[in-house]
């Protein structure tokens, strides 16, 4: 005979407005096995919890049902409360009469009847609950950071500085990400590379950081505390242990006409190259698709001129497996491009802006390279078509962003600020030039941001025109900008020398594929999803995986760095424990009943089921059965539903419990 307590919560008015909570408590008192039932305004409050604890002791309760909100909300709270008075926490369950009842119904009578049903079902379930103990798994105190932009760099340094090993994986030949491409940064106009490169060098020199550049994630196995990550180290064709970074190979390479992607294809580079002068590591890589040796077997100049003999044309992609306990994903963003998109694609291009075919229509990142001292023009603002200095530059904001008809409805967040910065950089370099900005709204919420934007108008004399641009076309050597000024209600036509588009921020290509490898979720645009928008903004719903930077949503540098440090703090919290406690809601196999068909192994999405051989004392094989690794099992119950002999049960959700709940209806 059980002695169960039922505690019905009003949740202020959230529940009591539609559910007669006193009647629910009254009905519960009459249920078989219930020793005590009451209602209270806020069960989760301190007095509410005290009331519950006192009742457990006074009435000698052996099970608790809290009829209140969703278990996702307060199951932990109440389980902790009952544990503090000596009851096994897994004997306490939530009956969700808020999200599942009061919030979705209007009729008080019906809602009350339903609340009683829900509470009754949970009482039946708790009567059959078993005492469970948390599972402990060891924690590998080593972190993986995917992406070597500013977010990845910051997260890696924070963890490494606390004495833990970090593996940093970067797809490109150098770390640095987009920040390395920027000229100056808002709102202080300090040089981007000057503040970034020291951090890049710190990464390279840190004893606790293992850096894998020109590498990609192949496969991810395991679970929180115990991941095994397979990494593909792409063939660099240069032996990193021998290369001294002298740069002779780069200067002697005869193939020099390859568009330089780092400079947004404005300049050129050689086939063996270092992406930019401050690259970390400063080891060149051979672009095999454009290398004469790899394409025709001739040349070999780099190998001949290399003193230490570091060039290795036979190098193959190498695969390594790293064991880590936590993963931070910081894969960053790319900029939307306005070119024609395939028919039926949800994201549309900008035919009205010439689909990217007008040479003097460029995007913001290209403008950064023009303004950068290390860029293709040495920091002079010269337009791509004829290398002339543009005297009238039109900046267009919200290209692709906040444009539902183009397939992207979100705000890219960084463009208002960087466009204001661009107008300043332009004015600082071309004193007699005029900058025009077409904008929908100026969104400048950040410390010192609005002041910065005002400065671009008041001191640098940028002309801001509220309205959008309907068309761009080439007319002679000018680009005609046809737009509207909605503040005045007129149509505007400007003959510009250069047009700069603030194109939308999108996740990096392949973000969805990486998410599938990691088992994390992403939204319709392929931005990674955080576990809770407000309260768990740097964690994934998948335990042990954290997010930093623009892969989660458009972010500027301060936000990316803050999030990276927050993600690092979460990883360090995990690493502060020797053992990790996991919920004991896992599947167990009844080895007497199991016939070893292993249907459960086939359906398990987590790879938690293994084969186990049962032998007698002489070592003769009796039979093969399934065994569930409790460290890997996520408690989804798929095996339980699949098992033909009903020999797999999920602790806390046994068939008997579920059937009893249904029968209670």
């Amino acid at each position: 005979m059980s002695r169960i307590g039922v505690f019905v919560c009003h949740c202020g008015e959230n529940i009591s407005r539609t559910v007669d909570v006193e009647r629910v408590a009254e009905a519960a008192r009459g249920l078989f096995g219930v020793a005590y039932a009451t209602d209270y305004k806020y069960m989760c409050s301190d007095p509410g919890q005290t009331l519950l604890k006192k009742a457990v002791v006074e009435h000698n309760l052996d099970g608790v049902v809290v009829a209140a909100c969703s278990p996702r909300m307060h199951e932990k709270t109440f389980r902790k409360a009952v544990q503090s008075v000596g009851l096994n926490p897994y004997l306490c369950e939530m009956a969700n009469i808020r999200e599942h009842c009061s919030w979705v119904h209007e009729d008080r009578e019906e809602a009350t009847a339903k609340a009683i049903d829900i509470a009754t079902m949970l009482v039946e379930r708790v009567r059959r609950n078993k005492q469970l103990a948390p599972i402990t798994v060891p924690v590998t105190k080593r972190a993986l950071v995917i992406g070597g932009g500013i977010a990845g760099i910051q997260a890696a340094l924070d963890i490494a500085d606390c004495g833990h090993q970090v593996v940093l994986v970067e797809r490109e030949p150098s770390i640095g990400g987009h920040m390395a491409q920027l000229s100056e940064t808002f709102p202080t106009l300090d040089c981007s590379q000057c503040i970034l490169t020291p951090k890049m060098v710190d990464v390279a020199n840190h004893p606790n950081i293992t850096l894998h550049t020109y590498s990609e994630i192949e496969q991810v196995d395991g679970y929180i505390g115990n991941f095994a990550v397979k990494i593909r180290k792409k063939a660099r064709s240069v032996d990193m242990s021998k290369c001294t970074g002298c740069g002779v190979c780069v200067s002697k390479c005869p193939q020099k006409k390859i568009p330089n992607a780092f400079d947004r294809n404005l300049g050129t580079r050689s086939a063996i190259y270092v992406p930019f002068p401050q690259a970390v590591p400063n080891t060149p890589v051979i672009d095999r698709e454009n290398c004469t040796w790899f394409q025709s077997g001739k040349c070999g100049v780099c190998a001949k001129v290399c003193g230490p003999g570091a060039i290795d044309y036979t190098q193959q992609d190498e695969f390594i497996v790293e064991s880590v306990g936590a993963i931070i994903v910081a894969t960053g963003f790319k900029l939307y491009d306005i070119s024609e998109k395939p028919k039926g694609s949800p994201i549309k291009g900008y035919g009205e802006f010439g689909h990217g075919k007008i040479p003097d229509v460029i995007d913001g990142l290209t403008f950064e390279r023009l303004a950068s001292a290390s860029g293709p023009t040495g920091g002079k603002i010269l337009r791509p078509s004829d290398g002339k200095e543009p005297k009238a530059v039109v900046f267009i904001q919200c290209v692709g962003s906040r444009a539902r008809e183009k397939g992207i409805s979100y705000c890219s967040k960084i463009c208002c600020m960087y466009t204001a910065k661009h107008t300043m950089l332009y004015k600082h370099k071309v004193h007699d030039g005029q900058a025009y900005v077409f904008f929908m709204d100026a969104r400048t919420p950040g410390k010192g941001y609005d002041e910065f934007w005002r400065r671009s108008i008041e001191q640098e004399e940028a002309v801001y025109i509220r309205g959008m641009v309907s068309r761009l076309y080439q007319k002679g050597d000018k680009v005609v900008v046809m737009g509207s000024d909605i503040a005045v209600g007129i149509q505007v036509e400007i003959e510009a020398d250069l047009v700069v588009l603030a194109t939308a921020v999108q996740p990096r290509e392949g973000a969805d594929l990486l998410a599938q490898k990691l088992g994390i979720s992403y939204d319709q645009y392929h931005f990674y999803s955080e576990a809770h928008a407000k309260l768990r903004p740097v964690e994934c719903a998948t335990a042990g995986i954290y997010l930093a930077g623009a892969c989660q949503g458009p972010k500027d540098i301060p936000d990316s760095v803050s999030q990276a440090s927050a993600a690092a703090a979460k990883v360090l919290t995990l690493f502060s424990k020797e053992q990790l406690e996991r919920e004991p809601i896992v599947a167990t196999v009844n080895e007497h009943l199991c016939v070893g068909c292993l249907a459960c192994k086939k359906v398990c999405p987590y790879g938690a089921v293994e084969e186990k051989e049962l032998r007698d004392r002489q070592g003769n094989l009796l039979k093969t059965v399934a065994w569930v690794n409790p460290g890997v099992c996520a408690g989804c119950g798929t095996c339980q539903a699949t098992c033909p002999s009903k020999s797999v049960e999920l602790d806390g959700y046994t068939d008997e419990q579920i059937i009893a709940q249904i029968e209670a209806l």
Binding site: K348, G351, E352, H355, E405, V480
Partner: protein
Amino acid sequence: MTPGKPVLSYSYYPGCSLHASAKEYDESTRELFRVLKIGLKEVPDWCCCGATPAHNVDELLSLALCAKNLVLAEQVEGDVAVACASCFSRLKTAQHRLGEDEEKRRQVEYAIESPFDKSKPIKHLLEILAEDFGLEQLAAAVKKPLTGLKVACYYGCLLTRPPGVPELDCVEAPTIMERVIGAVGAETVEWTHRLECCGANFTLSRPGVVIKLAGDILASAREAGADCVMVACPLCHGNLDMRQQEIEEVTGRRFALPIFYMTQLLGLAAGVPSTRLGLDSMIVDPLPLLKKKNLL
């Protein structure tokens, strides 16, 4: 026995303009379809689609007029064929709106006293020629290729817009007109004002607007080296053709650009006798150009 290609046949909604100011569009459309052996049967008892005035004063009226015509169009077999860009836009808009708004559809059904079925496809002549009939077939039907004729294809506002409604081609950078006229041998020019507004109905209330906008369009076509402009809209035609002389007087520029309906040029290429294409009703005389290019 191999099954032959199904014979194309359409339920033709000409609209008011094609029975009046744009008679030559109607005439050339019928002649072109006759020589291409595409069936075209006029919707019986059709009425005005409401054009610009109706939706400016009463949305229900504009939807009901279109719905009424679409119900009538069901009496003729085949998809609805539309020549006028404005009728096309209104009919497609109505079909789109009534498809997504159940409440509006019920109001309209009450107004027209008939159930409305949104399933019958509405197609512009361009779509019929480029997709249903096919560009290869069209090229094969050419009797007199328009070789050497430089055409500026003018879409105007309504053929492709608003996004998601006409779904004729890419909204802001369409190529369907160029593809169709290119198939019969004409040379198309790249120009800047293919999709700009001609001033439309302001031609009556504020002609100054039209002088400026249509003038920009003509100047742009001229600069691109076009011999003529091809349109698919009676109102655009009116503004570019009828107003051309006035624009020339006001701006002091000489354009001398004949403004053809697409079906006039296609008909010429497909071997329709030039006397049956309504060329004589054009204000800017096209005959000198056509003679010069040996197309008569």
